[in-house]
């Protein structure tokens, strides 16, 4: 056991660096530098570059289009993409429904959906939460009833991220009202262009349109689009949630975030000293960096166990809790750093003013980013739920 990269690993790292330098979409890079809103096409531009190279789904088994990388290579990949500010690929297809389909799906489902997830042809969204079913997900009430070879699905989903762009959605629906809660749920793949689906935006505190309500009114879904057995969808749901939690830790992007924070703090002056030389502020940054190192090695241990064939279990809740708290702390410190210039609301700047920040660009983004980051301890199973999982599943309480 050691922490060193082998010669092969270092060669791989160089290959990755060269590839990113040569192939990262220039237009996307420009928009990121300017702090512009990213469109669906922007997100897909990087996805498609990676798909062409065969690097879009490192975590997938090779037979379905994975890279076959070692866990060290995957670590290098996430480090390098974060270090160079590559956008995070949308997780709904690649990290969520993809693994469910290749684990539980029929050969026909695998053949139909997996290639289109890899290519970026289909944009996916997640229909889990409902207005009355958040932390208590199993109490969901969206129902699917048989009608010939189809289901008719009626109900309402909420917090559906990026549904405004989605071609397909994976939905948890109730197919048996009489069974105990978890046992009457099925996992359906639904074409978002189906008649009877309406997507309504929810605007969050920073002014973003990321999440939506999805209303379903007698939406016709072929039974062949059900993954796994009827009434056994909870098995898929749990499997997916555990996978989601691992990815949610965001170690590599938080590391990049800390680097950026330090770089700005070193130039942001407070009289004669930089903020990074302010002993109060630097202590907070140092503590954050140390927390992040602890998380990083916890994640590496989890990934090593997964590489050994173990599915991520309740331990992934540890990653979710610490990862989300660290992401939030990063935004707290950035907002503190912004001082007075955290107050201007950039989405409200006048017409034509958008390219001209008040003070500095990063400072104008600090408050909306901080507000937005409160979601990280709520989504993917709130941190209260994660602690319940640890208490019950790990500690046996």
């Amino acid at each position: 056991m050691n922490l060193d990269f082998s010669a092969e690993d270092l060669a791989f790292r160089d290959e990755v660096r060269d590839f990113i330098a040569e192939n990262y979409p220039a237009q996307l890079r420009g928009k990121q530098d300017e702090g512009d809103e990213l469109t669906k096409e922007d997100f897909l531009s990087w996805h498609k570059v990676l798909a062409k190279k065969g690097w879009v789904a490192p975590a997938w088994p090779v037979e379905y289009g994975g890279t076959g990388w070692t866990s060290t290579q995957r670590y290098i990949w996430s480090e390098e993409t974060a270090r160079t500010d590559c956008i995070r690929l949308m997780p709904f297809g690649l990290a969520m429904v993809g693994p469910v389909i290749y684990t539980f799906g029929t050969p026909e489902q695998k053949a139909k959906f997996l290639p289109r997830i890899l290519s970026g042809e289909d944009w996916w969204c997640q229909g889990y939460s409902e207005p009355g079913a958040g932390s208590d997900l199993a109490s969901l009430r969206t129902k699917a009833v048989h009608d010939g070879d189809d289901y008719l699905v009626t109900g309402q989903k909420t917090w559906t991220t990026m549904a405004q762009h989605a071609d397909w959605g994976f939905f948890l629906v109730r197919t048996d009202n009489d069974a105990k809660m978890q046992e009457g749920i099925s996992f359906l793949l639904i074409d978002m262009k189906s008649p009877g689906i309406e997507v309504r935006p929810i605007i969050t505190l920073g002014g973003e349109h990321e999440v939506n309500e999805v209303w379903l009114d007698n939406v016709r879904v072929p039974i062949s689009n059900r993954v796994y057995e009827e009434n056994k969808g909870w098995t898929c749901a749990k499997f997916l949630l555990a996978h989601e939690r691992v990815g949610i830790a965001g170690v590599a992007s938080s590391k990049r975030g800390v680097e950026k924070l330090k770089a700005v703090a070193a130039t942001e002056m407070e009289g004669d000293r930089s903020l990074l030389a302010n002993p109060f502020f630097r202590r907070k940054v140092a503590e954050l960096e140390i927390d992040l190192a602890a998380l990083e090695y916890t994640e590496l241990r989890t990934l090593a166990a997964m590489a050994g064939g173990k599915n991520p279990g309740p331990e992934s809740s540890v990653l979710k809790i610490k990862g989300s708290e660290i992401q939030q702390r990063l935004t707290e410190l950035t907002l503190e750093m912004a001082g007075h210039y955290g107050a201007p609301y950039y989405r409200g700047f006048g017409e034509g003013d958008n390219e001209h920040p008040i003070g500095q660009e990063w400072a104008n983004r600090a408050a909306p980013t901080y507000f937005n980051a409160r979601k990280t301890t709520i989504y993917g199973g709130s941190n209260e739920i994660q602690r319940n999982v640890i208490a019950k599943m790990v500690l046996g309480l």
Partner: protein, 376 residues
């Protein structure tokens, strides 16, 4: 020692609370913010000329009711409960406070206009490079005959787009960051040579970057007292936003308790879960600390200079930390709905967050408190 309020003070609170209950619902507030001006000037008119509340903190010989900072505390608590976007801190606390402290003909002329609602003031004290250091000032006021000529740039001036007057800090001498030579001026917001870039703030106000280019101002605009006066005025403002924090905290706690009583998960109202009960109990503990510190700060505003500064820094350091906990806890307990624009709670959280840094962050005030009270 006597911590009770007078009957008049009780009536003042009741009058404002009733007015706000009738006129400042969350929906009404959001409509004001969305309007072109970003506020409803009729509200200010009502608070001043109709209800006469603006006279509360001023002495009787200036046309006031004979009150002071306790009246401001009461008003700010009530404004906090509805996250009001009225320029009370800027106009009454900063402008009024500076004028009262400086005295003279300008005060005698302007305070009645504040009371009447004709004068709205914005406090232009911050500069882009200065962070929270009140003496880090590049804006200059150069003596010119009997008056001065102003040049410079003031940042994030809350309420500037609404203001008839600007309360401006500027340097008449000394080098950048020297305490000597910093002075306070009250000037006409429409004076020739002033330009602004206006914008909304994340917490629902309007603010501006204000630029001065050879702005000629009369000698009488000077409110003499230098940096000591400016620090006193900022301390009064600091305590005022801490009083606002009291109202905000209590409102956030009440809304959170109410929500957890209605929201059901796992077959019961989520307020039945002990982990949430303890969090809300901690919110109450912190809200009470905020109320206590805002009161302490108010009662110490007339103390000797260093004692006042140390006390106000204790207050702000504590309030900034406590209100962060309350805001974050309120949002977390609400869950996803807490970070949407739909529900009021998120808007309280935004204002609460901005109070953390307004007039000095926790770090700034901890450092000032230590420097003033711990011998090296």
């Amino acid at each position: 020692m006597d911590l009770s309020t007078t009957e008049t003070q009780g009536m003042l609170r009741e009058t404002l609370a009733r007015f706000l209950a009738d006129n400042y619902s969350f929906d009404a507030r959001q409509k004001m913010i969305a309007s072109p001006e970003g506020r409803d000037p009729g509200i200010w008119r009502a608070l001043s000329s109709e209800l006469g509340l603006t006279c509360a903190p001023f002495a009787e010989d200036l046309g006031g009711m004979g009150g002071g900072s306790i009246e401001n505390l009461i008003m700010m608590e009530e404004f906090g409960k509805v996250i009001a976007i009225e320029p009370w801190v800027q106009t009454v606390v900063a402008g009024g406070g500076a004028l009262v402290a400086a005295g003279g003909p300008l005060a005698e002329a302007t305070i009645p206009a504040i009371i009447a609602g004709d004068c709205v003031i914005a406090f232009a004290y911050a500069e882009p490079q200065g962070r929270y250091n009140l003496a880090d000032i590049g804006t200059t006021a150069k003596a010119d005959g009997a008056g001065y000529v102003l040049n410079g740039h003031k940042g994030v001036v809350y309420a500037a787009p609404w203001a008839t007057h600007l309360l401006v800090t500027a340097r008449t001498g000394g080098g950048r960051r020297e305490r000597e030579g910093v002075e306070l001026f009250l000037i006409d917001a429409k004076a020739k040579g002033i330009s602004r870039r206006d914008y909304p703030t994340v917490d629902g106000f309007r603010a501006s970057e204000v630029y001065f280019e050879n702005v000629a101002i009369p000698g009488e605009a000077l409110l003499s007292g230098g940096i000591d006066l400016i620090e006193r005025v900022v301390d009064e403002c600091t305590v005022a936003v801490c009083a606002e924090a009291t109202g905000i905290s209590r409102a956030m706690l009440a809304q959170t308790v109410e929500y957890t009583g209605q929201r059901k998960q796992f077959g019961v109202p989520i307020g039945k879960f002990q982990v949430l009960q303890h969090r809300m109990a901690d919110m109450l503990v912190e809200a009470e600390q905020i109320a206590s510190m805002a009161l302490m700060g108010t009662l110490r505003l007339d103390a000797e200079k260093d004692a006042r500064k140390a006390a106000v820094s204790m207050v702000k350091a504590k309030v900034a930390k406590s209100i962060r906990f309350i805001g974050q806890s309120a949002v977390q307990t609400h869950g996803g709905i807490g970070i949407t624009m739909e529900l009021a709670i998120g808007h309280y959280f935004k204002r609460a967050t901005m109070i953390e840094g307004q007039f000095g962050s926790a770090d700034y005030h901890l450092e000032r408190f230590e420097a003033l009270t711990y011998a090296a």
